[in-house]
Structure formats: structure tokens, C-alpha cells
Subunit: 265 residues, 2 copies
């Protein structure tokens, strides 16, 4: 299980301010810290971006790439911003992401073929509703694979994100288990070792008690690893969570064990 | 997932000394602490016991029951000591345990019927070798269920322990995953919601770095819970491990979530 930093988000006031002032400093500082955790990639969550989205996205891509060679996930629902990001990126870029929503199928999915890029596909209904059951999620996953194939995007390019729910949703805890089962079952369903991604931070949305949130995230990240998750999108500056994720990754994947593998305290 | 204390073991010098001196104090102190953690049961691991095993077992049972009403797992390979424990116990007693080993089938398994007690069955070969593959474990599990039925012990009375391996075994890490898969698959294989037990402390046998051992146990206990384990046999005086196990138990079983369920720091 590889770790992807979800720390760079425009919802953070300091990052919004940095964009407004075109001040790369705060973005660089944050990305340097994340890269220092030995992660696989950095999610660049710019949101949809308002006016002049292309220039805003270029600002982010250039700021991030000035301090790291790691792959970037370009995380925006705005097709113009997505294209600008893919054009600007020198590092390997991953499209985050598409769904069965018509605008995503028309405007985002084709960019994966055009830029020969990996693309994340969300298990959501066309109107962005979250499905309830495993069966619904499987049907949507097959739908995404069909759409990708029709758009000339190889299945090797697709990463399925089954959408980790906040536990505080009415049936959040049941959905969180459903997500684990879906991750486990998808490769056989699709008949291919499809890669999967899960957003760990979603689970504890709305938590007032930080210690409890961490405990839940540490536990769930172990379950995600055990289910075969490929990429854990998470707060990589939470050192305890990173250790838990790494340790779970060892238990979930390694063929030979040695104590030297286990992260130090 | 219910927690069972594995803390009371005759391998601890203080406990061996207590038996020698027939001094209930150290046993009572330990059991009081374990019971204070809100566990489901106490494993009374007396080992085979040497001369006069019946009196030695009665000493332990009486010492433990003088401070708790919790169920006891009577954990000995000595049939005479087992019978003495079952006769002495006023609390609910669980036999820990039997396997396909002939002496266990002849001398231990029938006690489950005679005392109308739950009994743990280990997934081990008749010569006590640990099986390698999932298929071997399934075959042994079915063998145990057949033997139990033939001995007049209902399947509702059986708890399967698939034997968590030390990670330092040559293929320990692969076996540890196999155990998770077996726990997940057993109910369907047996066609009944069979209960399972796993010994978490086995995993880190031989660890020199205590922090790394804890990290592995916390991660694995979450995976065990996610696989549907019924009973985690573990060091219940490791408060962090208990919190991890409880949290994982919530994620693995609850239908409705609230922050109040999650253990405090």
C-alpha cells in the first residue's frame, strides 16, 4: 500500500492565501514536508478554481514541482483546470478523477487518453450520489471500466476509488465495511488486478476529539491494507498514522518478514 | 470482537512462585487488573502442570474465582488437570483446547460433552505440526467439526483457533495472512456462524523492540477484527492494544456509529 499526501488542499486558509498572492512559499513548505515522509505522490487538491482556473492551476503545479519530483494527482472537477494541470506538469501526473457524471465522462475521461495518464474513477452515481450496497458499487465499477475502454483508456490506467464515507453518516459505519469488501472483491470482479485508492481522512469528518479520530483512522487504514488497497490518500504529516499504515502495508503484502522493516518509534 | 486476557500464564516467574507457595495473592492481583480492563474472559494458562496437577489446577481456579465472576478458559494439555479445573470451576468454564492429536480427541474433547462446556479447537495436525495452506487448514477445521459431532459436542460449542504464527517463522508473514483468510472463510465453509479465537501475542514472539511489536499487534488486531474474529486472546494490560482492539471491533461490527463508542485516550 503506497501513501499519497492529501495535505495540499485549497480549503486550507494558508493555501488559499498563497494562491491569491501567487506566493509559492507556503505550498513549497507543505509539499517539502510531505515529500520528506517518503510518500508515493502528492494530491494537488485545488478544488474547481474560480476565474482564470488555468493560471491558478499552473501556479500550483509549478510551486509543487519546484520542490519535488514525485508524481502528482491533479484533483479538480474543472476540466479547463485539469487540462492546464496536465499541460503544465513535468512530473508524472494522475487525473483525480472521473465518475459516471456526464461532464466527467465527456470532458475529463478523454484527457487520460490524450495525456496517456492514469485516472482515478469514483464509485458514484451520475448525479454524484454515493451508492448504498456492494452490488450497486460493483455495477458502477463495471460501468466506469466500460466507459474507460470506450474512451480508449486501458484498464491498466484506471484506479478505482470506492469513496470512504464519513462514519457520522446515517449508515456510515456499514458503508465503511462495504468499501472494504468492494476493495477486496474488485480484482476478481473486473478480472484484472485493478488498482484501488481510498481517502482515509474522510472517515473521521466532523470529529471533535482528535485522539478518537486518529484511533479510528489507524484501525481503518489497517483494514484497508488487509483488503488489498493500493493507494491510501491521507494526512501524511500525522506520523502515527503513517507508521500504522506502513506497518499494515508490511503485514498485507510482504513475503518475508524482518524486524528491520517495521517503522521506528 | 471480545477480548480474553492471556496474562495469567505459568511461564511467568511470579505466577510459578505463587503456585509453589500456594499464595493466591499474585494471581488475584493480576486477575483483578485484567478484569478491570472490561474483558470477556480470563485464560488460565497453567501449562501441563507436574505432579499433583489436580491440586495445582484447583489452586488456580480458586484464586481466580475469588476475585472475578468472568468466564475462564482452562488452558492445559493435561487431561487430569483439565477435568480438575472443570470440576472446580464455579464460573463459566471454556476448554482450551483440543486438536486432532489422538490424546486430545480421547481425553479432552469428551469433557466438553460431560461438562456441557464450550471448547476451543486448534487448526493443527495430529502430530501438532502447523498446517501451511488455507486448504490444509480448512480440511483440519472440517475434521475437528466431525470429531466434535461424533463426540456429541454441538457445533455451537466449538470455537476454532487457527493458530496465529510468529512473524519470525520462515513463512510467518504469509501464514499470518492465511490465518486472516481462514477466519473470514470458516463460517461459509462450515455452513454455520462458527466462533473463532486468535492469539495476538504469538505474532510478535521473539521481538526485541517493544514499540515495533506493539505496532504490529495493533495493526494485526485490526485485521483480525475486520476478518470477523470472535475472540482476541491478548495482553489486556497493554492499554494501547486494548484501545486498538476495541476501536477495530467497533468498525468491524457496529451497525450505528457514535463518537461516544470510541475509547478515550
Amino acid at each position: 500500500m503506497k501513501l499519497i499526501a492529501d495535505n495540499l488542499r485549497i480549503t486550507k486558509p494558508g493555501i488559499r492565501e498563497a494562491l491569491k498572492n501567487r506566493d509559492a512559499g507556503p505550498v513549497q513548505d507543505l509539499v517539502r514536508k510531505c515529500a520528506g515522509q517518503g510518500v508515493f505522490a502528492i494530491d494537488v487538491n485545488t478544488g474547481p478554481l474560480g476565474k482564470n482556473p488555468e493560471a491558478a492551476m499552473r501556479f500550483f503545479i509549478e510551486a509543487v514541482e519546484s520542490v519535488t519530483d514525485l508524481p502528482l494527482l491533479i484533483d479538480t472537477a474543472n476540466p479547463a483546470a485539469m487540462r492546464a494541470g496536465l499541460e503544465a506538469a513535468k512530473n508524472r501526473a494522475i487525473i483525480n478523477g472521473f465518475s459516471l457524471e456526464p461532464v466527467k465522462l465527456e470532458k475529463i475521461l478523454p484527457l487520460a487518453k490524450e495525456f496517456n495518464a492514469d485516472i482515478v474513477g469514483f464509485l458514484l452515481y451520475p448525479d454524484s450520489r454515493v451508492p448504498k450496497t456492494e452490488a450497486e458499487r460493483f455495477e458502477i465499477a463495471l460501468g466506469l471500466m466500460d466507459k474507460a475502454e470506450a474512451a480508449g483508456v486501458a484498464k491498466e490506467r484506471v484506479i478505482i476509488d470506492p469513496v470512504v464515507p464519513p462514519l457520522v453518516w446515517e449508515d456510515g459505519i456499514v458503508q465503511a465495511r462495504t468499501v472494504l469488501n468492494v476493495i477486496r472483491a474488485l480484482p476478481e470482479l473486473i478480472g484484472f488486478p485493478i488498482r484501488t485508492m481510498g481517502g482515509v481522512s474522510n472517515l473521521g469528518t466532523g470529529a471533535k476529539d482528535k485522539a478518537k479520530r486518529r484511533l479510528l483512522e489507524q484501525s481503518y487504514v489497517a483494514m484497508l491494507a488487509s483488503s488489498g488497497l493500493s493507494f491510501a490518500l491521507m494526512d501524511v504529516l500525522d506520523t502515527e498514522l503513517v507508521r500504522a499504515a506502513r506497518t499494515a502495508g508490511i503485514l498485507a503484502r510482504e513475503e518475508i518478514f524482518s524486524w528491520g522493516m517495521v517503522p521506528e518509534d
